[in-house]
Amino acid sequence: MSEAGVIHDIGYQRYDGPRLGRFAMQQALYVHGLRAAYGLGRSAKAKIFPWLVFGIMLLVAVIVAAIRSLTGESVLSYLEFAGQMSFLIIFFTAIVAPQLVSRDLRAGTLPLYFSRPLRAADYVSAKFAAMVSAIWLLLGVPQFIMFLGAAFTTKDGVKGVFNELGDLLPGWGYSLLWALMFAAIGLLVASFTGKQAFAAGGIVAVFLVTTPIVGVLSSLPSTTANQLAFLSSPMTLLAGVGQWMGGRFDLELGRFGPIYGIEAVCLIAVCLLILLARYRKVASL
């Protein structure tokens, strides 16, 4: 029986629990993004493609580790790994970036996100961090398996393991560079369309189209053009940065090494700035 003066009490209650701020939202978006990248918490169909790519990468790593332990030869170094697997990384970017941003556009969830204290910068940084982590895991885990294969079969005892670790850490750093570059470009392209199919096609087109430009510039009859040729494609740009930082990639950069570093940083920064500008205003569908 209800009290006098109350006609209907259907049990509405105010929320009086703790209200988490922007940081918690960012964190939630990051965790959700990283899980979505690998299809965790989603249907089996959503897992096919990311795990296909991850499986192939793992397979390659296991084969490399096996050859290393049987013959003692290193067929693929930690630094070369990303470059050799570049097609798979492009494909992975084309799968994940539309998952992270195009779905939100298509489903019209952005106005809901931004009606909270969440800001555009928070959204972009959470998505970017999730994508970077996803790509880095894609590269870092196979590299770690290669490391395990090498470390357990080393003949120099603990010293051999530390030598191997000294090779692995720059490899991980270089993978992080790849992850930053691919995440920035991938998210930028994907953020312009709500259709995942077109976003995926666009990302692949951007990465593949730039490769032949390197070939063309390398064939021009000018040493300067040849040494600057690798700037025109993200993949060779990263190899150039790696070379400048002291890795061995057999690229002829001449004295232009620093330019590669500058362009890589600028490219990532510009992509992120455009991404921020793009989320200044989101249409509600």
Partner: protein, 236 residues
């Protein structure tokens, strides 16, 4: 049938996304013009521009965007229901869509390849590339049209084909070359106008027969799939 084709073509060109098709051919011709202007020998840049960009990137990517766009986007939007409920035989729907996809791809890829080939060598090379690109456009379109009926995510399946099958495995496992449309295109162009730029790895007969098999089998399978097509919700 002509109405379906007309509506498909309008859906392809009526929106902004048709502009996506423009940069690739422009880049192809632009690079060829730059190399030509610098007076570089075509032997140096022909391989990178014609094969590396034209046949390996522009042709498959355009075919992928167009081929999955004609039917895949209708499945995605759910508007496919409107066509399926019309009193039209399913093969007419597929043939109309296929004709649009293949001819648009053929025009968008063959014209710039003709220009590039003419700049790199002779009109004959340009013609050979154009013919090969048309064959490739028909084969790729049949395959990608089939993909858009087999899977809800045809672009990703198509990308697996382009990147993993033709790109990655083609480099390591030579056996896959007999089952890669890209190799047929290169072979056909090379046999019509033999140059240093193109290097065919399989026989002309194999290339022509296999292309025909891809076209016919792909279209028949697509008709078969559409005959028993069930409309379901979007994948999660």
């Amino acid at each position: 049938m002509s109405t379906v084709a007309f509506i498909t073509a309008r859906g392809l060109f009526g929106r902004r996304r048709a502009l996506l098709l423009l940069p690739l051919p422009v880049l192809l011709i632009g690079l060829a013009l730059i190399c030509r202007a610098y007076g570089v020998s075509p032997d140096m840049w022909g391989q990178a521009v014609i094969v590396g960009l034209g046949l390996v990137v522009v042709l498959p990517v355009v075919a992928l965007i167009v081929g999955t766009g004609v039917l895949g986007s209708e499945v995605d939007d759910g508007t496919i229901v409107h066509i399926l409920t019309k009193p039209l035989p399913r093969y007419e729907i597929i043939l109309a869509k296929y004709a649009v996809a293949a001819s648009v791809t053929a025009v968008v890829s063959a014209v710039p390849l003709f220009v590039t080939g003419a700049l790199a060598g002779s009109i004959k090379l340009g013609g050979a590339l154009a013919v090969a690109a048309v064959v490739g456009a028909f084969a790729y379109s049949a395959l990608f049209l089939l993909f858009s009926l087999l899977s809800r995510r045809p672009v990703l399946v198509g990308l697996v084909y382009i990147l993993v099958w033709e790109g990655l495995l083609g480099n390591f496992v030579s056996g896959t070359k007999n089952l890669a449309i890209g190799q047929y295109v290169i072979t056909i162009a090379d046999k019509i106008a033999p140059t240093e730029i193109l290097q065919s790895t399989i026989g002309l007969t194999t290339a022509v027969v296999m292309s025909a098999i891809f076209i016919v089998a792909g279209t028949l399978a697509a008709i078969n799939r559409l005959s028993s097509f069930s409309v379901a919700g979007e994948t999660s």
